[in-house]
Symmetry: C2
Subunit: 239 residues, 2 copies
């Protein structure tokens, strides 16, 4: 059974046996985190990068006045701070949203990959490029969509990303995230997130109870969100 990271990359291009082996062996240690715990601190200069193998995490930046902004939500298989290999110091923190299992990949290992395995290097590069594409998409949503559109967009995106790593169940997926977290991710207030969730529920596009979201009307949801999955690069081609 391939790891979720391999699944994710294989979706975009074939990995050789050797590349898969190198990736599976890249983690030097495994660490557990509690919900709310900080996985990587803003300002740090880590000597390894964190591969999220279980749970949900977010990149967050806290402002002087106590507010915080979430700039990315990560799921199983995401290399949450791969960029810290080259980008130092960390300009944001990584927080565990649920209990998390993290595999620590030493920067030495990434350095070695970049020296000896050009194609695998490009695939890792690609995964940071997809992160950037997601950021751009969030920026568009922020500027142009009303709250319901933004929330719908996030749900569409997460559904597809979870599907890639086998974490969906038909049209449903586990979404163990509080509305306060969503507020920080969408740039809305918690109160307004709540009203927006209800709006989507009432429209019949989704069902959302506890930590489980079910998409009842993909087309409707995608229409509200103006969702176009191109940016996720979910097709396999030579890279």
């Amino acid at each position: 059974m391939p790891s979720p990271l391999v699944l994710k990359l294989q979706q975009r291009d074939l990995l050789s046996e050797e590349e898969q082996r190198v990736l599976e062996a890249a983690g030097a240690a495994v660490k557990q985190f509690q919900p709310g715990q900080i996985i990587v601190h803003e300002g740090d200069e880590p000597i390894w990068s964190c591969l999220l193998t279980k749970g949900w995490a977010a990149r967050s930046k806290s402002l002087a006045d106590g507010r915080r902004a979430i700039t990315a939500i990560h799921v199983m298989g995401d290399f949450v701070d791969l960029q810290s290999f080259l980008l130092k110091p960390m300009d944001h923190s990584v927080v565990a949203l649920t209990g998390c299992t993290i595999s620590l990949v030493p920067h030495e290992t990434l350095q070695a990959i970049s020296e000896r395995l050009p194609h695998l290097t490009r695939m890792l590069w690609l995964s940071t490029l997809i992160d950037a594409a997601i950021h751009r998409e969030w920026l568009v949503a922020r500027g142009q969509l009303p709250a319901a559109g933004q929330l719908a967009h996030l749900l569409c995106e997460l559904y597809l990303r979870l599907q890639v790593v086998g974490q969906t169940d038909g049209w449903a997926f586990a979404f163990p995230v509080t509305q306060a977290v969503l507020a920080d991710a969408l740039g809305l207030s918690a109160v307004h997130v709540n009203r927006t969730v209800q709006e989507l529920r009432r429209s019949g596009a989704i069902r959302w109870a506890g930590a489980k979201v079910t998409i009842q009307d993909w087309d409707g949801l995608a229409a509200v969100a103006r969702f176009d999955p191109t940016y996720l690069n979910l097709t396999s081609r030579s890279r």
Copy 2:
């Protein structure tokens, strides 16, 4: 005289003679664009990437209803669509904001670099990571700052980026961009951008006449913007 791209990368880590030579020789052709002209179309799968050697450009995404969102503003020395080397098809367009000179770098050349020059590859990777860091910073500003803060943030960022490529003149820089473009970049209406510009002028933080912006009070501007330049990675270290 090194090219602006070399200047930009040298700011982050030393480039060897060979790496500089390769970069300077990477452009296979030069192309001119008029203001408003589209440099790369959304949906295309270019076989080269565009290095902006003169002028201003933006990444933009237009929505069904005719609105457009600008997700990045680029200046001399920026590799505007380096990501199209690995990320296909283009999920957004690149537009010339002024007259532009573009140097076309074939993906073949980038491929060759990635196979033979690991350090230079990491430096190019780095430059896309800085783009992503800028996206994150914009996301934070969008969610957490009022209009004046957002605009101030953009000005602080552009000032530093222009300084790296020698395009500032003391505290002043040329900023040949209409308020309508700014509106699309900040997710505001053109009318509100206008009022916000006036607010910053009145506060004494900047002077802004025609296409020239002068920062009169950096600390004040940075305070309004909650600006912290860490994310631009403007220090040299081994990468």
